[in-house]
Subunit: 310 residues, 2 copies
Amino acid sequence: MGSSALCHYSINKGAAFLGLGTDSVRVVKADERGKMIPEDLERQISLAEAEGSVPFLVSATSGTTVLGAFDPLDAIADVCQRHGMWFHVDAAWGGSVLLSQTHKHLLDGIQRADSVAWNPHKLLAAGLQCSALLLRDTSNLLKRCHGFQASYLFQQDKFYDVTLDTGDKVVQCGRRVDCLKLWLMWKAQGGQGLERRIDQAFALTRYLVEEIKTREGFELVMEPEFVNVCFWFVPPSLRGKQERPDYKERLSQVAPMLKERMVKEGSMMIGYQPHGPRANFFRVIVANPTLTRADMDFLLNELERLGQDL
Amino acid sequence: MGSSALCHYSINKGAAFLGLGTDSVRVVKADERGKMIPEDLERQISLAEAEGSVPFLVSATSGTTVLGAFDPLDAIADVCQRHGMWFHVDAAWGGSVLLSQTHKHLLDGIQRADSVAWNPHKLLAAGLQCSALLLRDTSNLLKRCHGFQASYLFQQDKFYDVTLDTGDKVVQCGRRVDCLKLWLMWKAQGGQGLERRIDQAFALTRYLVEEIKTREGFELVMEPEFVNVCFWFVPPSLRGKQERPDYKERLSQVAPMLKERMVKEGSMMIGYQPHGPRANFFRVIVANPTLTRADMDFLLNELERLGQDL
């Protein structure tokens, strides 16, 4: 298996859980923006084959957790095709972008995937949990993988078409009908309504990014291509002190301190994390369809207020 | 691994999913009432060892799906102790009985288990899904098994005790706080309130069983020890015809036909299944705390009404 250095930790976890072992996961290099480098994927496959391994699956990511990066799916699909490998796309976070005519180009090539994971409970804000696994397969693969024909649960002598029963196709047994949440939301909002949500999230992200650029003490980690806005808040005492040897260490302490203050005041909740060599930075996700520009202004004002004495 | 012939199909499924393979699951014989036979467990372990296998886990069941059978946990714990094996109890269905002083003896020996699975969403009727995995371990085993220390998600530099964070101890990532449903229900009902529910379910089961015994055309599969009431409805045309060569075949068609009728009328829903050599029989689960004797009467009257022409 191959996956980028910035893929979700569930890839490693899945390999461990399925008994394949984490050693069977090869990490493919990502570029500065966090996108998988197809040439390195090709190289990792050759290396694995040279060692006698049989690479069988590539997991690309559409919308990484921190930077919101979209892997170049078309180029990765080419590699998979050349090597006869299963092409999986982890679009848990970014998959909903397909609903937007304006932005769906970020996922160009996803139509070539063998499987796609998509979480409507993320960007579309369906109630937790609502996760879809989409398959190209038409041979009833899930049934062949997971079916155990437990006759005491999945009776075959029913008065309707039992191929409609999904119980024996999934990993779990007793579970909620999670797909109903997506279906109801789609019915209520319509495709256009959901598209408006996505487009609005991108537009509001753009507003927040431009505001960050104009304010003193705010520094973007990079220009976002999605709705993940990653930035540092540099408090007054650290501004212009980039040359100090303890700058990065002190900057790393800012986000946890501000997080503690905002949580204790109850004014807002913003995540932060370190990332590779980068010091702790904030990551604002602009997804909630009820957010407005006033909320973006509040967020930045509040960070300034909470951090003015640092 | 060893599990009884009547264990839940999730045991086999789990073995497949974890990469152990279903061949690594040994089926232990069960007695007439569906309880695991400890002597056969001992025998299966010896056989496996003789073949060079290393048996490591026994999964006993407290409340099998169909018959509601409780395996003899104390005797099984003895076997596990002798062989140094992990003792797991699948008490998904029957675990809630522990809340009843009157009936908890059915689970005698469960205190010796290494792990217990319990679904409050079954007998206690907590909202789907609410499943607990209880462990004897105090060495933070889940963290050691499932922890991936994804620094971008599980920050360590927080202002509170991060050992309280459970995110990195579980298999999934984004998930509902299912335990809240149990906690709220327990707070609202109290231990005594939940105990009353269990005792009432057993009492109402007893009423249904006695009613079944007095009515013509109803035949118990066996005396239940739990709230699973398994019985045949023998329609007028089949009564007293047990000697006919096609009796079993025709009896097997009764439950699916009645199920179709009740579903189409919308009057009730009762499950049925074949079981080993036994023809399709109904399985009524008496669990809902709002059920009354009148509901039990309705159920039997309705089966008589729907099946009078068969």
